[in-house]
Structures are given as structure tokens and as C-alpha cells.
Symmetry: D2
Subunit: 433 residues, 4 copies
């Protein structure tokens, strides 16, 4: 899974990488990543992607967190190809299948039981947004309330329910209708540590004249990836969980991006010692970049009627196969989580060095979700563009795209991490000066 470090291209990279005409001609203007990374990708292995011209890229974005175990991980690939070759079930709605049985048993055995999580599992459809939509619907159905608390700079998806709890104003404007039923509260450290936690939230909840509709649920990310790698402190998460319990509000942790080991442990909330009422998982749950999502919730919240929430692609069995294998491979012991933590620390140390050398740049993140915040406008994007020219895929995040977000596959070797970070360091140095 390693490769020689890429040599910067000698010719104009944009010209070389120009996309086939069909994108301009036929694909909607809504397309975005292909604009920043104007290359046509052909193959990939581990942390490396190769475009149609044979150029290689070190992937520090990992499908926005959907490829925690790398591209085409051979450990998962083998059973996937076996499964398909044998004409096993590919599509099954929510029928029982051998692959689904094995996934459920494995998930129960390796994930739920060892963590004493008495959750039921829903297959809400194959995307994180499906999981969020089902979580919100369930919370509203259980409580009979309609209002949801979300947080500043939250990102939960693009369907109407998920979008209503998302912060980004450009994406919200896309709804075309007023997005209601959600009230934003300040995320941890929103005021730079000056204001006490939940000062405002708890006060307004307490106040019968506060004007806040009593919420069905709070939805929170432990680390806001899209929002700019904002990291909630463990004590803040614990205080939030306690507040929810005291006030009879359900706590939904959206672990779509930060779950499946991104921060170390399987669930990103484990470190805080909290047990959410509802959890959403997607992105890396299949392990192979195949569409799949789960909604988990306390057994007593399982008030769904049969078929009350459904969808055509809830039974994507190839994803169950790779998901099962990923659990067996990486989550039988603590080793993988420990390695992730160690790699994350290494990345952080390197980022701190870069930050130390440049005023207005600071490191941030948790586990293997790390990045650099650039005070200067447009600097983060310029650094990412330079890094792309030098063969590393990195994206910006944050309300003003001010944060360089690194989400390398968790399986990336230290050598590759260092290679990418070297290029990042150069890109920073080049761009800043």
C-alpha cells in the first residue's frame, strides 16, 4: 500500500488534467470536487489514486471519510469478488439474506456487545442523510415534539430534514423553502472559551418564557468535519448528554464522518463515556466505499411500525459483505484503534510544527481527522491547490473554507503520511511566502 513519492508534474497540470468535454456538456453545474481536482481518476489502491494519464495522487481525503480502510483494500476485495462471482444476493430490499444475517451477528458481537450498547439497528437507506432523516423522524415520533436543536456549523446532509439541521447558509438556501423546526445553539468553544458551556441553551430551556419550543432531540457531531474540524471537548459532550437526560431530550450523535474509527475508537463518542439515544453511521461502515448506512437507537425507542420508513437500497448486500469483513479484520482487538490514535498524534505533531513556523496558522482536530486553520482569506484553498499540483488530495472545510482538512485512510503508512505532510509543509511555505 506504499508507493514512491510523486514527482511534481513538469508540464502545466491544469492543461494535462483537463476533464473530458462531457462534464461541461452534460453534468450539472452542481458538480464540485472535479473542479478543484481536474483529473480523471482511473484506479486506486490503499492511499493512492492514479489518473488516466498515469499520474499518482496521495489521497488525504479518503472519500470524505468513506474510505477509512483505503481504496480497494485487498482484505475486503477478496470476499467481495467471491461474493459477486457466486451469484450471491446483490439487492434484497429488507429481506433476510445470508450476508445480512452475518453482518447483523458480527455487528452485535464485535461492536454492540463489547460496548454494552443495547441498540436496535435500522437500515434506513444507503446514505448518511437517510440515517439522519430516520433519526429525526424517530425522535419526533417518540417524543411527540417537532423541534430539534442543532449546532453552529453542523453538517448532516442535503435532504430536507437533514438540511434543516445543517448550518451552511449556501446549502440551506438551496432548499427553496424556509427551513424550520431547528434552532442552532453554539457548539463547544464557539466563543473561544469565554462563555460557560450551555449557558444559553440550558437557561432558555429552563425558562417557561424563553420562546424555545421544547425540543425532541439534540443532534451533534463530536468533531465537526465539514464545519471546520471543530472538536468538542469530552467534558462538553458529557455535559450535553447530562443536560439532555435532565431535560428529557433525546441525544442523537451523528457519527457518519467521525465514526468507524476515524477518531480512534469505533464510535467517536466512546472516549467521552456517553451513550447517545440514537446514533447514525454511514460513510466507512461498508469499509469499501459502497453505499450503506445504519441508524442505531435504544431498544425502547424502537416504536417504528413495519414499513413506516423504507427505501429501495436498504439491502445492498455487497456492502454487508465488506462491512462484515472490515469488522472482523479491524475491530476484534484494540490494535487498530490504538494505531489510529498513534498516527493521529503523529500527524498532529507535524501539523503543529508547520503551524509554529507560520503566523496565522494553527493545528486542530482529533484522531485522524486533523487539519490546519488559516486566518488569511483564501489561503487554505491556495495551499490545497498547490498540494494537488504536487500530487496530494486535500480539501478545505469550515464556513469560510478556512481549514485544510486531512482525512487520510486510517491504514495509511507512516511513510505515506510523512510524504504527504512533507508536501503539505512545502505547499504552505510556498503559498504563504
Amino acid at each position: 500500500m506504499t508507493a514512491t513519492v510523486v514527482t511534481p508534474p513538469t508540464t502545466d497540470p491544469v492543461r494535462e488534467n483537463a476533464l473530458p468535454d462531457v462534464y461541461d456538456r452534460v453534468e450539472s453545474e452542481v458538480r464540485s470536487y472535479c473542479r478543484n481536482w481536474p483529473a480523471t481518476m482511473a484506479s486506486a489502491r490503499g492511499s493512492w489514486m492514479t489518473d488516466t494519464s498515469g499520474r499518482q495522487y496521495l489521497d488525504f481525503f479518503a472519500g470524505a471519510g468513506a474510505l477509512n480502510y483505503g481504496h480497494n483494500n485487498p482484505v475486503l476485495k477478496a470476499p467481495l469478488i467471491d461474493y459477486l462471482s457466486q451469484d450471491s444476493i446483490v439487492h434484497s430490499l429488507d429481506m433476510a439474506t445470508a450476508a445480512k444475517t452475518e453482518f447483523l451477528e458480527t455487528f452485535e458481537r464485535l461492536i454492540l456487545r463489547p460496548r454494552s450498547l443495547d441498540y436496535k439497528v435500522q437500515f434506513p437507506g444507503p446514505t448518511g442523510a437517510n440515517a439522519v432523516e430516520s433519526a429525526l423522524k424517530l425522535a419526533r415520533k417518540v417524543t411527540g415534539r417537532e423541534s430539534i436543536i442543532n449546532f453552529t456549523n453542523a453538517f448532516h446532509g442535503m435532504t430536507l430534514g437533514a438540511l434543516s439541521v445543517t448550518g451552511n447558509s449556501m446549502k440551506r438556501a438551496g432548499a427553496g423553502i424556509p427551513l424550520v423546526h431547528a434552532t442552532p445553539m453554539p457548539y463547544d468553544n464557539y466563543f473561544g472559551g469565554i462563555t460557560e458551556d450551555f449557558h444559553w441553551f440550558e437557561r432558555v430551556l429552563d425558562d417557561s418564557g424563553g420562546g424555545l419550543n421544547h425540543p425532541a432531540a439534540v443532534i451533534v457531531e463530536t468533531v465537526q468535519g465539514e464545519g471546520g474540524l471543530n472538536v468538542a471537548r469530552m467534558e462538553w459532550l458529557r455535559a450535553l448528554a447530562e443536560l439532555c437526560q435532565r431535560r428529557d431530550i433525546l441525544l442523537i450523535v451523528d457519527d457518519v464522518q467521525m465514526g468507524c474509527g476515524r477518531t480512534g475508537a469505533f464510535f467517536s463518542f466512546e472516549e467521552a463515556g456517553i451513550v447517545p439515544d440514537i446514533v447514525t453511521l454511514s460513510k466507512s461502515i461498508s469499509g469499501y466505499g459502497l453505499p450503506m448506512a445504519l441508524t442505531l437507537f435504544r431498544r425502547d425507542l424502537d416504536v417504528w411500525a413495519p414499513g413506516e420508513h423504507n427505501g429501495t437500497f436498504r439491502g445492498h448486500n455487497p456492502a454487508f459483505v465488506t462491512a462484515t469483513k472490515a469488522l472482523e479484520t479491524y475491530w476484534k482487538s484494540a490494535t487498530f484503534a490504538e494505531n489510529t490514535a498513534a498516527k493521529g498524534q503523529h500527524v498532529r505533531d507535524r501539523l503543529e510544527s508547520i503551524a509554529a513556523a507560520h503566523e496565522g496558522i494553527s493545528a486542530r482536530g482529533r484522531g485522524m481527522a486533523q487539519g490546519l486553520k488559516c486566518e488569511e482569506k483564501d489561503l487554505a484553498a491556495a495551499i490545497c491547490a498547490t498540494a494537488f499540483e504536487r500530487g496530494v488530495l486535500m480539501e478545505t472545510s469550515g464556513p469560510s473554507d478556512e481549514v485544510i482538512k486531512l482525512l487520510p485512510p486510517l491504514t495509511t503508512s507512516t511513510e505515506d503520511l510523512d510524504a504527504g505532510l512533507d508536501i503539505l509543509a512545502e505547499a504552505v511555505a510556498t503559498t504563504v511566502s
Copy 2:
């Protein structure tokens, strides 16, 4: 793709088929198909599925229309396995990839151009609901209006936007909030032919005192699959398209279930000679049961800002590979569509015979979406249960589950169609008497 006709099982079918305990213990109560079809499926080919005990089932449901070309179609399977074996790109967000380029070029060449459809293509996420959500968002953004007209017994999906235009009251109740911004109008033939088309809709639109917020769009299925195989007449669809044009309302055809050849032509609206402003596709677009969806719209409606609607699984490349191969295989000539029409007629003739023999049962449908409507309460479900025992998978639909809906793979042989219809005829005869 044929098989010997199944022998009815000799032992108690329910006992034999009892599902593994893990479903009861871990999967949410929301599960549904596995309740009616208590078998654990293991493999499948063409129109046949086989459970873990080796029993075979003739699949007349085809993943609710997601398997128009059958299970594990070998023509699609070969390039899929090749693609995966070569470590080609699996997951790519909306980056350009070789597989995506080929799909876009093929879709343009074989589908859009021959039909003179000047559409842009959006990858809205991998499900039909994603496509519907993006279609509604775009219609609202383009028009600056918020209201949508839907039809009685419409089904468009489970996310909040899609659910708001869906008719089913049980599923709507799952939202937990009042579903607003949509107003239902009567679907074609809702009053048994007594009332003139669009009598009410056009009158209330015309009336500045009508109290109807002027709609951004109308969303319609040409045949309502979930709604009970309600078939809109071609002249009704044409009149609807003309009404929308006259009133400056966008017309969205939701072709998620009826597109991709289910009614004969690639798009179900072709026969009516109309050109919708926006079209949604999903289910069988990948051809292999892999999650994939498209939103198509008139070039001048492409007002999306880059990234204004996004999602993790918009670039599911294995689905692009099978989708491209399916287009090349089945849509280069008119043969496949003609065969579907012929098979559909055959199925319809057989259903008419069954209906003729039983009072209170009538045939309905279009193309290869055919079925039987049973006046007697619970009769349709009882017939489906008997058919399952005899090895055929069929589902009910309609607001009272009063319609037996047949959606066999379009590739089903006439022999298999007849085998299944024989069993259906027996099941009807047995159950009615």
C-alpha cells in the same frame, strides 16, 4: 436464466423458513418484506432466487423494480468483476473518473440524443429519494415558489421533502412534523372517469381567490406503482404537460420505478410524447441493483451553484460500470423495448383471464408493471402469501394493499412468466374459493 418450475414445499413452509434470531433481537421493528417472505435468501440468477435451504423462488418483484435486467445478469456481472479486480475507482464523490466519463458519454449517446432531450444530468446521491429531493429543491430555486402539487396515492420517498409529496398516511405520520408545502390533486381516473380531467386543478389555479399557493412544480408518476398500479392515460399526461406549460409550472416526472424500460420505452413518458422539465431516475439505472440515481433537467434550469447539493455516495463507480453496460446491451436498438411491450401484453392477457374467472378481481397496469385488483379486503395479501408458499414472490400495493403488483424482471423468459402466472392463477383459485 430459466429453471425448472418449483415444486410446492412438502413441509411446513413457515417453520422451514423461520429467520435467524438476530433479526428479532437486533433489527428494528421497521423491517417489513422479511415478515411476508420469511426466507433467508442466499443467491440469485435472472428471475430466480434461492434461499439458504436451497429452495427456489421465482421473483416477480425484482427489487421493487430495481432489477429490470434480472439478478446478477451475467452480461453486467463480467465487467463489474473485471472492474473491481483491476482496482479501478470504487468511490469518488463527484470527482471525474474513467467509469463516470464513459457512463455520461453513453447516456448522452444512447438515451438523451436519440430522444432529442437537451437535459443536464445531476448525480444527486444514490437513491430515488435523493433524486426527488434535488428535483424539488431545483424547482423551488428556479421559480422562487415553495408549493408543490402532488397526486393522490403518489409515492416519492421517505426523506422529508420526498415524504411531503407522498400520499400514504401511515408513512406521512412517520414524519413527526406537519408535512406542508404540497397539495394533492386527483390522479387520472380518480373519480372513475366521471369528472373531467384537471377540472379542479385548473379551476383553482385560475382563480385568484382559490387559496392555492401558486405551485413551483407538479410531480407525477406515469404509473403509480406503490399507489396501486394506477395508470395515467397518455392524453391525461399530455393535458397535464400542457397545463403546466400554460401556467408556468415545472413538470417533474418521477420515473424512479417506471423508467429504465419498465413500461417498454426507456422513459415511461415517451409514449405520451411529452418532455418533462425535470426527470428522476434510480432503481434500475445501474442495472445490477447497485445504488444509483440521476436527476435530469432542461439545460436552462441548471441554476445550481457548485456544491449546493452534494452527498458522499454520488460517485458509486461500480454502478456506473454496470449502468453503462446495461445501456449498451439493451438500449442500442428498439428490440428490448419491443420485447418488453410484447411480454407485458402477454402478462396482461393472462391476468385478464384470471380476472374474468373471478368476480371482484380486475387486471390493471402498463408494460411489465401489471397486476390484479381485488375488491375483497385482505384478499390480495392472502393470494400473495399463497403464491409465496408455492415459490413466487409478489407484493401488494395500493392504499389498502388491494392490488397484487407484478414487476418481473424484463428479461424473464416467457416460460418463467407462464410458470409464475400459473402459480398465481392457482393461488387466486385456492384463496378465493
Copy 3:
């Protein structure tokens, strides 16, 4: 209360009537009646108003129905001036007062008991919109549902709740937010008698896939005054009441404009023999044009918590005084109602004659709410303008202002009615030719 018939002014009427500058300079552009009737009114008695230049007008509008007993009716004026002179209570919130006690006892004795109406009485604030708002709130609170059915061309008021059940598109646009939670249904005779009553409404209610949120209530006017003098047939009202009862939907009759004797009986729904669950009254309830409103509802629906709906001007005692006196004067026997019916018939006969003489003009209305519908665009307004020049105040109504609406005080003498109708006849003849 009679007066000599006015002589048409000899000088330019617009110039003569030009309003003081302060209206242009200081009053909002939202002002409307003063634009059509550019006279500054100074005094009034019975059916006659006099402007500051001494010119007299026969008032066939009666404060949009707020002056059923005429201007400054001396029977009511005497106790009002007595009351005020004695320093009796003017403003009392919802405290008990002698005047309120007397009103409640009188209303119970003369209105509720003789009609066997076991209603509780709420003072919701002094306007019809207050009454409608409280009616909708109560219906939603009682049923736990949010959706309301209104009718095409309904008018219920300008506050957000009332506006959401109002049909007029210009007024709805003034809300500035999407008006939701209400679904319009066709009012009686909306399709010119071709379509069966409640065809669509009942069918969609019955259909669990109809997509209509089950309504808390239906709100209806027995005659739509603002909507164009649309008269519901008695059998339609009865069928509506039965439908509501069968489907467990509350029936709200908005009798703000048609109550208090406008159609003959005190309540406009009496003739139909129905008993609504909730009734709103305002406009003429005080009898003297003083702000006052009532919400009446079945005793068992009185689930309000103390103070759950309040308002500063619920206790406008001078209005209670005149209201009590009006009840004592006009509603102790059937005479007043009978006279109104007779006068209404007389007006109708004269209007039929006018209509018979002019193609494209037809008579419509019920009781003393009568008018002429003019097919030709802008004709109704032109006739009203001519009538104003000749000294009669009449207004247009209907979605295209196509109906001349006559709402003379019920106390107007036959001579004055004829004088006004003569002028109307001349205005029609002059304007049409």
C-alpha cells in the same frame, strides 16, 4: 331615517371630494376605501352618511356589514351615551362588569336558549380575525391535528392564522411567508353545478393514500361576502355538516359578516338546520359599529386553560351595552328577521329586473346580502364609481372584483332601498351603454 334622494353633484365630484393632504402625506399606501370614495365623512344616521361639504350618501355598504342596524341608531345611542355619562366601566380586560353580565345573560336568554345552542362564549378580542384565530387554535388543541380545510374564495381575516385560510392571492402574498396548514376545497357550485357535492373532498379524506393531512376542522362561510356573494345551498351546508360529523372533523361557521341577521335569522346557518361546533361573530354584534367579537363553541370543546388566549380589548364595555340593547330591540321576536327576509326579496327582485335588462349581468345573494355579477371586466367597479358620483356607496367583491355587493343596513326603509336601487339601475344603464 329616510332622506330626500340626493341630487347628482353639479361640479366635478373628484375635485370637490379631494381628501385632505394629510392622507397622502402620512397614511400608508395600504389605505383603500378612501381611494374609491374620495370624500371626508362627517356624520351619519341610519342609512345615510354626510361628508364635510354637506353632501349626503346612501350607504349600501354598512361598514362591510358592521352596521346592520344603521349608523348611530338612536335606540342604541341613548343607552350608550347614558352609560358613558355615568362613568361606567369602559375598559375591563376580562374582568366581570355589570355591562358584561347583562350582555352574557341577554345573549344566553335571547340567542342561545331559544335555539337550543349549548355553547360557551369566548371574548377573543374585538375583531373577526381574533375570533377566527381563537377558533382555529381551539380546533387544533381539541383534535391534536394541525390541518384546516377552507374553501375557494374564502375570506377570514388578515392575521397569520386567519390569512392562511383566506383565498385571495394578493392578500395571501402580503404574509411574506408560505401560508401552510390549510387546503382549499371547492365551495358550493364552484363548478357550475356539474360536479357532485364533496366529490373530491370526501374521496380524498377516505383514501389513506390521498396525501391530505387529516383535518382538525373545516371553516366555512354560508355566503361568501368578500368572495363574490357566493351562496351555499342549504343542502350543501347540511351535507358538509354531516360529512364533518362522519369524519370526526370540527365544523367552524365564520358568521362574522353573515351573522347578526344579515341573511334573516340571527345566525346564517339556522336556515340549514345545522349546529356548527364553533361559530365566530363580530362586525354587527355590538350593533353600533364598535369593535367586538365572540367565539362560540360546544360546551365540551371548552378545553382552554385560563389565559391561554387573551388580549387587551376583550372587555370593550360600551360595545356590550349597545350589543345588549340591540338584542333586546331586534331579537326578542321573529319580526326583524322576517322584515329582513322580505326586504331582501324586494332587493333581489329589483336586481333581477336590472339583470334581465342587461346581458352579462346576473343577480345573486341571500337575505340582505345581494348583488350583481358583471361578466365584463372592470364593469362592476365602473358602475360603483358612477353610483358613488350619484350618492350611493357600494363596493365590489369577488376574485376579479366582478360582483357589486349590496349590504344596506337591515333597517333601511323600503323607500331608501328603492332610491338606492334606482340609482344603481341608472348607473348600470349609463355605464353599460
Copy 4:
């Protein structure tokens, strides 16, 4: 306007004051003040009310601020009775009348011009809620945005639009639908002075990922009467006005309760030196307790179409007559405002003395809106009950009814103020001990 100080009743006060049966039998359970003050009021003069048994009460509530010039003020009564006696216009919709002309000219001359307020005047209907509804509609129409910022413990009225920006949870629950489009922000001093002003509000506005729909307007009371006599500091109001200007948000000051001289100056915001974009007035604007309201707004915001917001009781001419006389009497010079300030200071001094003598009781308020906050649960209500028994009408306010709110007529003599405050002091002493 003075009277002998009342003697505490010698017999059981509740028995004596029991209300007539008709209240229980016929009036809705929603009635409230008559429960706390079980007396039937008969007449009133200045600050004194007399019940049907002849008992006198010192009115320190003044119609919740609707009687700033006292009951039946003889200065206003004379022209009112003259006006009515002469058969002048009582009800005129929004026609021009002599009384309206005079009011508009007087309001312009005595209120707008001296304060350099270039406002247009709208007559939105006769209640504060009508004024608030029209203000919200206009702000949304002008900006094209739907979201409104309100404040914790705000009170703006009971119609749906006004209720959506009101804080009280009991009253909000009465809506029966989710109240949306408004987001509460902390009012001044909500956190006891610990948190910087607008810390949260401005930060979340600035943040494109904050998740707050950009607001059309902020609606604020300078002193929250219903909310518990919360007084905003002048610098907070100025900072709010500046924030609104910087962010292109309209500022609505709801001066329904605190306007018309309650805090000293005619408008309560004058002291802060700010000029709101929109102002609502009602309650004491007529001066005599007659229903009347005004919406004032910057000339360039007058985008209303004629008739876009209307209502039957916009032209309540007797109220215009008393309103004009009140302006002429009290607002020609600064004397009245200065007297109010002095009386307010006197009341405050006495309240501070009472507070100083009792732990857990503190004084609060501004101008002649003053009160005592009682930490102990139910204490405020108990004190008010005792005061009622001793002949003084006072009400509680605040989210837990923890504040005794004094709103005496501004015309109350110092002797009467002292008499009432003596009784309050005794009531406090009696109840606390």
C-alpha cells in the same frame, strides 16, 4: 381624581365578591382576570374602580397599560360624548373622516414632527396584535426574508404571527401548530450581566455556517411588561439598533404597552436616542381604553399595495376623537412626561424601601412601569391577592408569575400612589411573615 383610602372589607371578601352565575355557566374557561379579582365592576373614575356592591378599588393595573390617562378621564369624556351625541361617524373602515383627519394631523404635528420621525402611519386594526401582525408582514415583504428574531420572555400577542414571536410556553402551546420562523435571543441582562451583549446573536449572524436563517427583522420591547418588567439598558438598545443597521435587519419596537408615555417620553425608545424602522402602538393610544392601534414605519418601507392588509375596525372614530384630545392635552409640552418620570421615581423609591426590608424581594422597572420581584415561589401572587382584599388591583407577570407589576394610570395623584403603596407594603409585610 382622588378618593378616600379604602377600608379593608369586614366580611369575607370572596363571598361578597362572588361573580354572577352566568360567568361559570356561559363564559369560556379561558377567562382569567375575573378569577383573581372576583368582583363585578360597575363604574370608574381616574385611578378608582367601584364594584356593584359599592366597594372601591385603587387600580394599579390600568387595563394592562390601556388606561394611562385613567378611567373616564373627563378631559377626554366630554369630546367623546359630544361626538357621539352629534351623530358623527362611528365606524368608517378606512374611509376618510373628519375625526381621522384631525387625528392624523395632530399625531403628525405633536408626535412625529417634533421628534423628526419621518414615519407613515398604518391603521392595522384595533389591537396590538393587529399592529404586530402588520409589522411582521411588512418586514417580510420588504426584505423578502421570513425569519424574525425575538427575545426571551417577549410578549407580542395571541394571533398566530404575534404568538410565534411570543415567549410564554403556555400561550405558545395554545397555537396547536408548531410555531416557526422565529428564533429567540437573550434579552438584555438575561445572564445577570455576565455575558457580553449580543455575544451570541452577532456571532451567529456573522457565521455563514451558523444555521440561523438571515432575519427580516428583530422585534423588541424596551421594557418587557408581561415578561416580568425586564428593563433593557439604553446602551443595549443602541447596540441592538446599530447591529440591525450593520446587518441590514429591520428593527421593530413593540411599544404597545410601554409607549404613550408609560416610561416618561411618548415613545419608550426616545431615551435611547434610537429610531426604529417600525413601531407598534396600541393600548393607551386612544387614551380612553377604546380599541385602537397604529403601525408606524419609515416612509421608504411603505410598500403595501392598497388593501393588502385590511380589517373591519380600522376606523373606530370615537377612539380617534379621544386620541386626538389626549395628544392635545398631554403631549403639547414636556410637562406630562416630566411628571411621569418624577412619579415613577417616587414609586421606585418606595418599592426600594419595601425591598430593602425583605430579603428575596427586589425592585425593578422604568418610568411608571415598576414592580417587585419575589424570589419565593407563589409569593407575588399571594401579595397581589392580599392587596386585592385591601382594595388595590395589581397583577403578577414574568415566566413564573414572580413579579408584582404596577402600572398605575400616569394621572394618579401622589396621594393615591402613596395610598396604594402603603397597602402594598402592608400586603408584603403580612404575606411574607
